[in-house]
């Protein structure tokens, strides 16, 4: 089959590899109909996530048709159309039983690697480094899906792929970012990053009762989408207003946003400040793994007693964490890789009801064979790119 493989920093190739086979009795094999490039794939592409190996198949946002099932699979049958959640979860351990699927205790055979870096290991993830399991990813014609009775959600045939594909990751991820903010109605929420996850975080914050949502980015086309597509009430282009904290104060009567969502993660960009150069150099020299500019700003900007929700992906260690601001001002920090399984069914229902149509973020559709161009276009935000969907 054809598959998108990582072949070193800033290089992906579409190669011929063996077809997947059943390895565990609860596996299913899915023939992929749509698969997307995620913002977090760019961290792998850029080489900032350790334990990648040449030849790894990328991709953790995919859907398709079940073509084979292992002997213990009961809920799925050949021919079912499914969306596959990106964290691999066994459904049986304490964490899974408490709906903490992205920290499943059994799905990472390489847990020892993750423990060295992070103390304890989270769940395995498709195509997302060896530290997180070394599973082949889904930017391919077929994928093996472990614990097939636990993760995949069945989809009726009359809904187009583009409306449900993002249930695999970014829609629930954006939704969880907003849910972590504990909204009760009437809040002001600021969202750093108007990429795909940021867009869905904005839409979800509105859905969950935020009165105002402020989108922060530097690309006018993304801010336009945040306002027109996702429903942001205000947009803030930090290249026009470099003092983001001060601008947010002006927008919120000096209080600061009630909740701040970091939908940026480890490779934050910042126009001018010397602190950007500091982080950029330290990251390039591998002295710190993150460029946490958005996170620092989110903490400084948040109102006293407010909540900072971190949904952008981080990998290792950051410098200059503003612990003083965080501690003295009674902030709450909430975070996590999305527990996708928890949100798939309720969000599918909202899609069917017409409350959300996630397809507004799709800007590019390409053949799987064009994956290398897809990565470049997405990485450099060429051609007003927000989301690339690949068709095998």
């Amino acid at each position: 089959m054809r598959a998108t493989v990582w072949s070193g920093r800033n290089t992906v190739q579409v190669e011929n590899v063996p077809d997947p086979t059943i390895m565990n009795s609860q596996d299913a094999i899915v023939r992929i109909s749509s698969t997307a490039i995620c913002g977090s794939d760019l961290h792998l592409y850029d080489g900032y996530v350790p334990t990648m190996k040449k030849g790894d198949i990328l991709g953790h946002e995919f859907m398709g048709e079940v073509v084979d099932t292992g002997p213990s699979v009961e809920r799925l049958s050949v021919g079912d159309r499914v969306v596959v959640p990106f964290p691999i979860a066994c459904g049986k351990c304490w964490s899974c039983r408490h709906e903490l699927y992205s920290v499943c205790e059994n799905s990472n055979p390489n847990a020892a690697l993750a423990e060295k870096m992070w103390g304890h290991s989270p769940a395995g993830i498709y195509g997302y480094s060896h530290m997180l399991g070394g599973y082949a990813g889904g930017q391919a014609e077929y994928a093996r899906v472990p614990f097939a009775d636990v993760g995949p959600i069945k989809i009726d045939h009359d809904i187009p792929d583009e409306k449900v594909l993002f249930l695999a990751d970014i829609l629930p991820t954006g939704y969880m970012a907003a849910e972590l903010c504990d909204l009760r109605g009437g809040e002001v929420v600021a969202v750093w990053g108007a990429g795909p996850v940021g867009q869905f975080a904005i839409a979800s914050a509105r859905l969950l009762g935020a009165e105002r949502v402020i989108a922060i980015d530097r690309f006018p086309y993304r801010l336009r989408m945040a306002r027109d597509g996702a429903g942001a009430t205000d947009v803030l282009n930090y290249e026009e207003h470099p003092d983001v904290v001060e601008t947010l104060n002006e927008l919120t009567g000096g209080r600061g946003p009630d909740a701040c969502i970091d939908a940026v993660g480890m490779e934050a960009h910042h126009g001018h400040a010397p602190i950007y150069a500091y982080d950029r150099i330290k990251q390039a020299a591998r002295l710190e793994t993150e460029r946490p500019f958005a996170l620092r700003q989110a903490i400084m900007a948040c109102r006293n007693g407010g909540t900072v929700s971190v949904i952008g992906a981080y990998g290792g260690f950051m410098d200059k964490f503003p612990i003083g601001s965080f501690m003295n001002r009674s902030l709450t920090l909430k975070t996590g890789q999305c527990h996708v399984h928890r949100y798939m069914r309720p969000l599918l229902e909202r899609i069917i009801d017409g409350q959300i149509d996630p397809s507004f973020i799709v800007t590019h559709e390409m053949d799987l064979g064009e994956a290398p161009r897809g990565y470049e276009t997405f990485k450099h935000k060429q051609d007003e790119c927000v989301k690339v969907v690949l068709k095998p």
């Binding site: 077809d19 190996k53 002997p71 390489n110």
Partner: protein
């Protein structure tokens, strides 16, 4: 007779301790003659340095022979640092107060040789200390995991010896021989295997199983697994303690290799697989680690792409034909 590196290193350390006394005593008591003997002009400064070096030597001796017994790793590394200091002092003397180039050259040569021996000994001691428990001569490992199942169930699974190979990476087979005895066979590199007989030394249903290899076995090992309720109804904590005698001979070398550089890691991986088998029914495999959690596989990961030859549940499974 073949001597273990560990024993050799200890004997060397003792010798070095006595050598420290042999040098320290004349340095402290008669620094002038000592300086002459090594070809240095015994001026005030030279004598003072010699006296101080002598004190250091006596301290090193005390440290090696008494204080840090039986494993004087730090003391011997201290000697290595001392050698570096001595070389510096001798080099300075070569420039400013050389009395006899022949004797001073010999002294410098001697310090270089002693430094090499010190370094070798320190490295050997450190190697044999790693993986050791409290007492030297044994490898001790402890590890624990929590399994989200009732204690009786977790205990019963472990108690069935034939279940053990399903999660213990190296274990080929265990067979019960009756009368609390069992036969253990583990895979070894190059297609070989090692076997020994074990006896259960203690058994408290639902709580503890302890065992040891019978005297005279090729492999000397003891171990115990404890089961206790995890707080808050979170299932069962499984605590494993294992001990292997310092291996000697060819069988010992194989066991050492099996146990590897990271014995703790291996036991943890076995426990991880135990948890997977009980909670999910099987060892969880990925494309990069097709055998499941394994310390050896971590060092030699496959790329995360499908295997050419099916493994696990897929081997022999008739999948639908795909392009």
């Amino acid at each position: 007779m073949f001597e273990l590196p560990r024993e050799r290193a200890r004997r060397l350390a003792d010798l070095l301790g006595w050598a420290s006394i042999g040098l320290g005593v004349p340095q402290v008591s008669t620094p002038r003659s000592f300086d002459r003997a090594i070809g240095v002009v015994p001026d005030r400064e030279a004598r003072a340095w010699t006296f101080l070096v002598g004190l250091r030597e006596l301290g090193a001796a005390a440290s090696i022979l008494v204080i840090e017994q039986p494993h004087p790793v730090r003391s011997v590394w201290g000697r290595v640092a001392g050698d570096a200091m001595d070389l510096t002092l001798l080099a300075r003397s070569w420039r400013s107060r050389r009395e006899s180039p022949g004797r001073l050259g010999a002294a410098i040569g001697a310090v270089v040789v002693i430094g090499a021996i010190d370094t070798y000994t320190a490295v050997q001691l450190q190697r044999s200390a790693r993986g050791d428990g409290e007492e030297g001569g044994k490898m001790k490992v402890k590890a624990a995991i929590t399994v989200d199942r009732p204690r009786e169930e977790v205990y019963s699974y472990w108690r069935q010896l034939e279940n053990l190979p399903s999660f213990m990476d190296h274990l080929q087979s265990v067979s019960a021989l009756g009368d609390r005895r069992s036969r253990w066979k583990v895979n070894a590199p190059a297609g070989r295997s090692v076997e020994w007989e074990a006896e259960t030394t203690e058994e408290r249903p639902g709580e503890l199983i302890a065992w040891r290899s019978v005297p005279g076995s090729d492999v000397g090992t003891r171990g115990a697994v404890r089961f206790q309720d995890a707080p808050g109804g979170r299932g069962t904590e499984v605590h494993v303690e294992l001990e292997y005698d310092a291996p000697g001979g060819s069988v010992g070398a194989i066991v050492a290799k099996l146990f590897g550089e990271e014995p703790h890691q291996q036991v943890r991986d076995d426990l991880r697989r135990f948890k997977q088998v009980i909670e999910t029914g099987e060892v969880v495999r990925s494309e990069a680690s097709p055998e499941g959690a394994s310390a050896r596989r971590l060092l030699k990961q496959r790329p995360a792409e499908p295997l050419r030859v099916p493994v696990g549940a897929g081997a022999g499974h008739n999948g639908n034909e795909r392009s």
